[in-house]
Amino acid sequence: MSDVLLELDGVCAGYGPIEVLKGVGLRVDRGEIVTLIGANGAGKTTLLMCCSGLVRPTGGTLRFDGADIARTPAHDIVRAGLAQVPEGRRIFPRLSVLENLRLGAFTRSNQAEIAADLDKAFALFPILAERRHQAGGTLSGGEQQMLAIARALMCRPTLLLMDEPSMGVAPLLVQRIFAAITALNREGLSILLVEQNANLALATAHRGYVMETGTIALSGPTADLMHNEQVRACYLGAR
């Protein structure tokens, strides 16, 4: 078992004639939290969608857990242990919280294990237990984010991609969510975190990448990035 879990090399991708990713290289090792920051429209979401098999790369290599996943169907990527908490949460609005969570375990069949993981999800975010019979669409932004995270965990992933988990979430709940991210990582989950709030992201992650219009401009341990002049000026709001 190698230490490298996710590895992108020279990945290009886009939407029809629009080229968004122009040769991206990125790596997530087992046990790491890696953050990807960058301005709006840089291509962060597109990169995560490539990893999940929802956008097909037009060039480069994409490996997860030792296997080439550039052409793997999206549902098989989930089975292989790569889950995503998508931008905007994408909760199933007319399904109950419980149904949303059970769908997270769609790839699994052992009912006893699923029940145990449901209990774990409710322990992680107790508010979900209270709301379990409510329709997903009736939850607040922060509650939906917790549901989206818990739902992604239900497939027992080895790698979790998270796309802007703080977006549209009340500050108090942002803290709860980032505390959960750290806790999940301590239990061994590897995480690739895309985040607008660069301060928070760099404080949470071990390593980071800075993306600018489809390429990686900078990378390194978060401690270094935090003190980088360019990062401070562009993303941390320092002068």
Partner: protein, 315 residues
């Protein structure tokens, strides 16, 4: 016939017609709900099913053993329609899944024409039941397999016939089973999830193409059931019948709230009742206009239909 008996009779006729429409409307609304395609060919699929039913009656001499025949038809025709519907999705809709919605709509209209022409050709088959040859395009009589004994006794002016009972006995359990399937099974939940957010469904590890295929299979099977029931109820079929039943079913689906299963049944029953009362009062020429008047009135006050989605997604 007293006023009361008249109303009762129209209610019975309307409900029966509504239940037949509902089987077709359910297939329409399920497919729309999951891929936002108005499957124009759905009514014509019912027509093909009806032609198979009549072929079976002719080929297997089912007039002699009506109940066995009914059983055979209720298995063979839905299986046939399910297979055809799945194949249509596979060859005509799936390859253009990511093209603009209008593309698939045109494809569906094309499939509708192909089905109608198959029906025309099929109607010319050299079989006694079809008339054959020159009579290819003419409506075909379906033998009255189950008769129309009045269950209320021959003295009663109000009629609930064996046929009405057959319609209820086939359609209502199917609707209950469908509700259970969609609410309680794994694949049913996957269908609801795909309808609500296909991208999120794929992120859950759901093979969305298979779920859509399953939807076409179920919609097709229901259309096949409708074909058998409809043929035995009205005792006449024609290669053009798909237009009328498709239009009724589509209107019903929109009326109830497209994409909504109970809505499709409710819309169908409303349309069945409007038709029955309009016809009953001798206003046959106004019936279609009346159906659409009801549709327009409902949509003016409830643009997403009687039971259309009310839970709004928070962003």
């Amino acid at each position: 016939m007293s006023w009361f008996e008249f109303v009762l009779q129209q209610l019975i006729t309307g409900l029966t017609n509504g239940l037949i429409i509902a089987l077709v409307a359910l297939g329409y609304t399920m497919v729309y709900g999951i891929i936002e395609l108005i499957n124009f060919a759905h009514g014509d699929l019912v027509m093909l099913g009806a032609f198979l039913a009549l072929t079976l009656i002719g080929a297997c001499h089912l007039e002699g053993s009506p109940w066995l025949g009914l059983g055979l038809m209720l298995i063979a025709v839905p299986v046939f329609c399910a297979a055809v519907n799945w194949t249509v999705d596979r060859v005509a809709y799936r390859p253009i899944r990511h093209a603009p919605k209008l593309t698939a709509l045109v494809s569906a209209i094309g499939v509708s024409f192909i089905f109608m022409n198959i029906g025309l050709f099929w109607g010319g088959a050299p079989m006694a039941v079809f008339g054959g040859g020159a009579a290819a395009a003419s409506p075909k009589d379906v033998p009255d397999l189950i008769g129309h004994t009045n269950l209320l006794g021959s003295g009663s002016l109000v009629q609930i016939t064996v046929k009405d009972a057959l319609v209820a006995l086939v359609t209502i359990p199917l609707m209950v089973a469908l509700t259970w399937f969609v609410r309680r099974t794994r694949i049913g939940t996957a269908m609801r999830a795909t309808a609500q957010n296909p991208m999120a469904a794929r992120l859950m590890g759901i093979d969305v193409d298979r779920v859509i295929g399953a939807t076409f299979i179920i919609g097709g099977a229901l259309a096949g059931m409708a074909a058998v029931v409809q043929s035995l109820y009205y005792n006449t079929i024609s290669f053009q019948m798909g237009y009328r039943i498709g239009l009724d079913a589509f209107t019903a689906a929109v009326l109830g709230g497209i994409g909504n299963l109970p809505g499709a049944v409710l819309g169908s029953i409303v349309i069945g009742l409007v038709r029955a009362f309009s016809d009953g009062y001798g206003a046959t020429q106004w019936t279609n206009a009346l159906v659409f008047l009801v549709l327009i009135l409902v949509l003016v006050f409830r643009p997403s239909g009687i039971l259309g989605a009310h839970v709004r997604e928070k962003v």
